[in-house]
């Protein structure tokens, strides 16, 4: 398995930043854990506007909103053994999560999402009670299933890959049910809907969005903090990557980011961030 290293570069100060710790919370009541985080994943608690950067291992609670940018992904492991993989440019809120290991039949999970892509893989909870996903135009019920939910420019597409069933109920009424693997329901922004079997090439397209890069590749993401500092985050999967390769990649991905070039010059001379 490759090393996973991260170099955070503050372009304004040309210094290496260490990200702050996610606010400590009571581990005993965690609903899940961040099982994988790549790039800039922000967590916003209910009633707060301040975003906190999510780290692998951070506990996840109800009433939290998770936001990813264009180069970020996250995987949530819930305590009932279900999992949610959140793709790039996504926004997902965990409104409610109740699970009692001693009596899984009384549990409930309610999510809200308005953009992006996520995959739900069912655990104990969804076998008994459908997981509810609220969207701006419909409510989705996922019962004991592996399902993808994608927000596109034209609407929402829900694809069922395994399990009991997925129901899609538009706000205007009329529920569509899918229970055959590989079938989807698409709700268009104009109110129309369609369903059918997903083309195999599209399966590859959506599934690959929820995977990491192959060894030897780099992903770069940038974000702006509340203080106005631009943070450039570089994920390295290849421990043998040299700085020249890094620079080449950065030139490709952020060619107009002049500060990056200066940072790299400094890195090259100081050999900063080469450790595992």
């Amino acid at each position: 398995m490759s090393d996973h290293r991260e170099i955070v570069v503050a372009a304004s100060a040309l210094s290496l930043l260490m990200a702050g710790q996610t606010q400590a919370q009571d581990q005993g009541s965690r609903k899940g854990v961040a099982g994988y985080v790549r790039g800039n994943v922000q967590l916003i608690r209910a009633g707060e506007s301040r975003a906190v950067k999510v780290r692998v291992g951070d506990p996840i609670f109800a009433n939290q909103r998770i936001v990813t940018d264009g180069r970020s992904r996250m995987h949530l492991m819930m305590v009932d053994k279900s999992s949610i993989t959140i793709g790039p440019n996504s926004d997902l809120r965990i409104d409610k999560y109740e699970f009692d290991k001693k009596d899984p039949s009384v549990g409930e999970m309610v999510l809200t999402s308005a953009k992006g892509l996520f995959r739900f893989v069912g655990g104990l909870l969804s076998k008994r009670n459908p997981v509810q996903v609220r969207t701006p135009t419909a409510t989705i019920g996922i019962r004991g299933a592996v399902a993808f939910v994608e927000f596109t420019e034209t609407g929402i597409r829900i694809t069922f890959f395994y399990g009991n069933e997925v129901t899609v109920t538009p706000d205007g009424g009329g529920t569509s049910t899918i229970n055959q693997p590989g079938y989807f329901v698409q709700l268009n922004n104009d109110g129309s809907s369609e369903s059918g079997r997903l083309d195999p090439s599209e399966v590859a397209t959506i599934a690959s969005q929820l995977e990491g890069a192959a060894d030897g590749q780099i992903t770069v993401s940038s974000s702006t903090t509340n203080a106005g500092t631009t943070v450039l985050e570089i994920d390295l999967d290849n421990p043998s990557l040299n700085l020249q390769e890094l620079e080449n990649t950065l030139r490709t991905q952020d060619a107009d980011f002049e500060a990056v070039r200066q940072v790299l010059e400094q890195l090259r001379t100081n050999v900063v961030g080469s450790g595992g």
Binding site: M1, G32, Y36, V146, F161, N164, Q180, P181, D215
Partner: protein, 447 residues
């Protein structure tokens, strides 16, 4: 009588082996669940321990929790998408779940990496074929099996050369005594499937088969059988009874024996299949069929057997261990013929242990080696005495079979099999007491 006792002893031994195997194969479920929970907690506590992910996925797979195993392995692919063996495992899991689209995606990616070990590569390629068949709207899967067989009693003649005819003991002529023979056979079978794309999984299915069997000496045993059984398979309750399918179908069959038409039959059937998990597969079948026999020079009184048959059968295949399966089957057959002495009631059952193992030791590096041990029992009771044999005795036969065989996969399409079986039939009428030993070597091509 001695043969009868030895047959019973044989079956008892097989049953004992089976029970012992089951005993070894079924660890305490509670212990497994506790291990499963502990492995998940370990992942929650240390999400970046990649070994813990693999360990959890292994335990989840072992206890049949494929869905959560999928969740764990998908997480590994977030760390790196360049993990062909993990992808192959993920593909196998999705295949087991019946999610053929995702199975295909991961299996193709794994195969295209070119870095899978040879046996895994072959298995992956075969599962891709299987996934393709399930994803396509039209599909046809077929196999052609061609083999050479040797039998010590090819003509099913009685072991005793003195038999009853009209209640009188007569000496059989040489031609009607046991004849050993070789036969060359070919079995072509196929399944055409058309997906109706409904949310109850409905599909038109047309199973078909052609059997051609030519004997070296016993030309009257030449056999040609053609059958076609079209129907519609569907899930009666795709939500709450996932994995259960029904298959109402029509039956048609033509049989030629000794190059003369023997019988034609038409009927209806209802199949039931439960295949929600790959460690447990069960099926049941009811068939009602009208059979008409054709009188010929070889069989002048064949039409005495015209009538109806009702068949009720069931089988269960269970995964005892990772590569060891047990298959149990039972059947009942009622035959109502125009002549009572041709009417009968039959029951039977069989057990088969199937073991898969790697063929690496052969140096072929091409895949799996599958062996089986089979034991079967059949009891047939006729409704009335046959006056042509013994007008005072209703015939009652017991048949015992013991077989074993191995199949070696050579590549994605070809495999070779070596099989042997011993059959012993005891009967209350000496005419029907017989034995047979059979050995066959065959090659199979899948397409």
């Amino acid at each position: 009588m001695n043969a009868n006792k030895s047959g019973h002893r044989l079956l008892k031994r097989c049953a004992l082996i089976t029970l012992l195997t089951l005993g070894f194969a079924m660890p305490g479920h509670g212990q497994s669940v506790a291990e499963f929970d502990a492995a998940y907690e370990a992942m929650l506590d240390n999400p970046e321990d990649l070994e813990a992910i693999v360990r959890f996925a292994e335990i989840a797979t072992r206890i049949g929790e494929y869905e959560v195993a999928v969740g764990a392995l998908e997480r590994l692919l977030l760390y790196s998408s360049d993990l062909p063996e993990i992808r192959a495992d993920l593909g196998f899991l999705y295949f087991r779940l019946g999610s053929f689209e995702l199975a295909r995606y991961h299996l193709v990616e794994a195969l295209n990496s070119g870095r899978l070990p040879p046996d895994l590569e072959l298995r992956t390629a075969r599962l891709i074929d299987g996934a393709d068949d399930n994803v396509a709207r039209h599909s046809f899967i077929g196999r052609l099996n061609v083999g050479l067989r040797f039998q010590t009693n090819a003509n099913s003649a009685p072991s005793n050369d003195r038999v009853l005819a009209g209640g009188v003991v007569v000496q059989l002529n040489d031609a009607n005594q046991e004849q050993q023979d070789y036969d060359l056979y070919a079995v072509a079978s196929g399944l055409y499937r058309y997906d109706l794309q409904t949310q109850n999984g409905a599909a038109i299915e047309v199973p078909m088969s052609l059997v051609v069997d030519r004997f070296a000496d016993q030309e009257t045993l030449h056999n040609l059988t053609i059958s076609l059984n079209p129907g519609v398979r569907f899930e009666p309750d795709p939500v709450d009874a996932k994995g259960i399918t029904l298959f109402p179908h029509l039956l048609s069959r033509v049989v030629e024996r000794g190059d003369e038409l023997l019988s034609t039959s038409l009927g209806v059937g209802l199949g039931l299949r439960y295949a929600a998990r790959d460690d447990l597969f069960a099926q049941g079948l009811f068939r009602h069929r009208r059979i008409d026999f054709r009188n010929s020079g070889l069989r002048p009184n064949a039409s005495d057997r015209d009538g109806y048959t009702n068949l009720l059968s069931g089988s269960v295949r269970y995964r005892l261990m990772d590569s060891l399966f047990l298959r149990g089957a039972a059947h009942l057959v009622q035959r109502e013929a125009d002549r009572d002495f041709n009417s009968s009631f039959e029951w039977g059952g069989s057990l088969r242990l199937i073991k898969s193992h790697s063929s690496d030791w052969l140096g072929l590096g091409t895949g799996q080696f599958r062996s089986y041990l089979h034991a079967g029992l059949r009891d047939v009771r006729f409704s009335a005495p046959d006056p042509g044999v013994d007008q005072n005795t209703k015939r009652n036969d017991h048949e015992y079979t013991l077989g074993l065989g191995s199949t070696l996969s050579l590549n994605r399409q070809w495999s070779v099999s070596l099989e042997g079986s011993a059959t012993n039939v005891t009967s209350n009428i000496r005419n029907f007491v017989r034995d047979n030993l059979s050995v066959s070597l065959s090659a199979t091509y899948r397409f």
